[in-house]
Symmetry: C2
Subunit: 381 residues, 2 copies
Amino acid sequence: MSINPPISDNQTVILGKETPLKLDCGVTLEAINMAYCTYGTLNADKSNAILICHALTGDQFAASRQPVTGKNGWWEIMIGPGKVLDTDKYFIVCSNVLGGCMGTTGPSDIDPKTGKPYGLKFPIITIGDMVRAQAMLQDYLEIESWFSVIGGSMGGMQTLQWASAYPERVFSAIPIACAARHSAQNIAFHEVGRQAVMADPNWLGGDYYASDKKPTAGLAVARMAAHVTYLSEAALHRKFGRNLQDRDNLTYGFDADFQVESYLRYQGINFVDRFDANSYLYITRAMDYFDLVEDHGGALAKAFEGAKTRFCVVSFTSDWLFPTSENKDIVQALIAAAANVSFVEVETDKGHDAFLLDTPEMFKTINGFLQSSAKSRGLLS
Amino acid sequence: MSINPPISDNQTVILGKETPLKLDCGVTLEAINMAYCTYGTLNADKSNAILICHALTGDQFAASRQPVTGKNGWWEIMIGPGKVLDTDKYFIVCSNVLGGCMGTTGPSDIDPKTGKPYGLKFPIITIGDMVRAQAMLQDYLEIESWFSVIGGSMGGMQTLQWASAYPERVFSAIPIACAARHSAQNIAFHEVGRQAVMADPNWLGGDYYASDKKPTAGLAVARMAAHVTYLSEAALHRKFGRNLQDRDNLTYGFDADFQVESYLRYQGINFVDRFDANSYLYITRAMDYFDLVEDHGGALAKAFEGAKTRFCVVSFTSDWLFPTSENKDIVQALIAAAANVSFVEVETDKGHDAFLLDTPEMFKTINGFLQSSAKSRGLLS
């Protein structure tokens, strides 16, 4: 084993001071904070950099201690010496998305116009805006082209957006468990979550920052509803089934009788400490708005026309939030665009969350793809 | 066409004054109100009565005007002269479930011990208790055996419970889109709904009846979350897709941009006027507790041993809440119990709600089953 390569602690850089970020909604953000972590070492010709795009409730702490929870990074299973995203070989960058709440500019930050937190005065942002901001970070790091851009779920949407908007800046792209446009069912689930937040009287129309209370109850409900969609029916059945908290007895009450109930409550309660309710609204909205098909006049293939980027699309058999059929739509468009694409549907009963879990077939697939891409880029002899 | 047979308006009877209802939780309810509607005419030997069991948010107004909403009954598509549940031939009974809020005793009723509404002092009820209460209504109506018991979703659970607990009182049974036990995923979705209600500060621990506010915001969120599960992804896609309210423009805000959002909000807002939040808690709990397998030592077939009841089990291809696999478990148990059972998986993209909608293959299946059952019972020459 190698000695662990350097991990940079959380860094924040101010971007866009000279060329401000123009958003899809028409608003311009004069300057933004961009918070990110890096793992591994950038090589001399800056050709070994991988950008990790995080999911809805993720953050830049992909492989380092999350400062609020004190827990391990959310993708440590993928990142490290000898792992799939091998920090002995690659320089890994993971930034908090625009609209987020872990250091990159979002609705909880101070609006320079008022001196108060933005709240709902923060402009609506899109996946395109998130990627534009990441491109400003790429410029700042003086990396001409990412060796790879990778992400699951909303991270996969960003990966697709990267390949579509900046093909010359992406050598390879690995969108996992995502879609080229958010489905009606997924918009519906997001809307339930937003309404749960907005129904909480402590939300105060988004201006809860100066209050001593936060819309934690509403946000916890939103998280619980979303969390059910991240797991498969089979995974819930295997993990919990109808197992009771008290092995023998129903309580004939509304306490958490079933293990699945206490698990969900735990997911809800723990989430609210580390996540801003308004960020949840903005980021879910960005996902809802994502529609690479509509952006290209109804023909997804046009999103990738002339692409030289190599693609590896990964889906999971038990993912009902971003089912294989939606991932296949991406693959078919890439084929129609004559792109270099491989596609693997990984057999797993873990549901959408499989991209975060110990999923050996996914590791093997991405590892193989990165190896061949590295050879092709001259990173490996 | 025949002249419309008599429709009895909503009636309420007090049951259990002499033999009180003993609940599964151990509590005894001294006397209960039972509200019901009837359609058609009971024949001389009382052999043509059909009991309809309603679903979670249904009521006794299966084929008559709902007094709160002023809308048509929820199953008018099935009930009437010449329809599948033919009021020229059958005497149809539909009662509000125990724990409900449309006249049958539930948490919004006065607790005789305190003179105030029960709220959370109402005992936890089960599907078994609902059916026990319906059996008391059957006694009151002096109907020895139902020609048929039919229901979808929670109505299907009651149908199964009837056939298991009172086989000699059920000539035929038609459980639609249900399961012999509530799955972990379904318990999880119910728990999200309950937490949404309980998170509403107007819920007041269930004691909101004397207050001028009700937990409508929380209940609306619960309804929205549940409603997504009643539809299939395909139905949502077909009905709404990513269609915008304003045909041309995203608003870049949190108003209902997408038609699916405004549809869901409408479902939530309209629900709270006609439904009691505590009833929602109690009835979802009853569904979660339903487990005919566990009740019979892990062998579902034992639930139906020696059954003379004829069964027709119906499932829908696109129902992911009560998928065909769970309906097949019922069928297999019935076969193992040597019961007379037919099973049809109806091809439809309408999801769980298909049992409430214009689903011709379901009509045809149930119609055929009722015809042959009617012959077998000597109702038809």
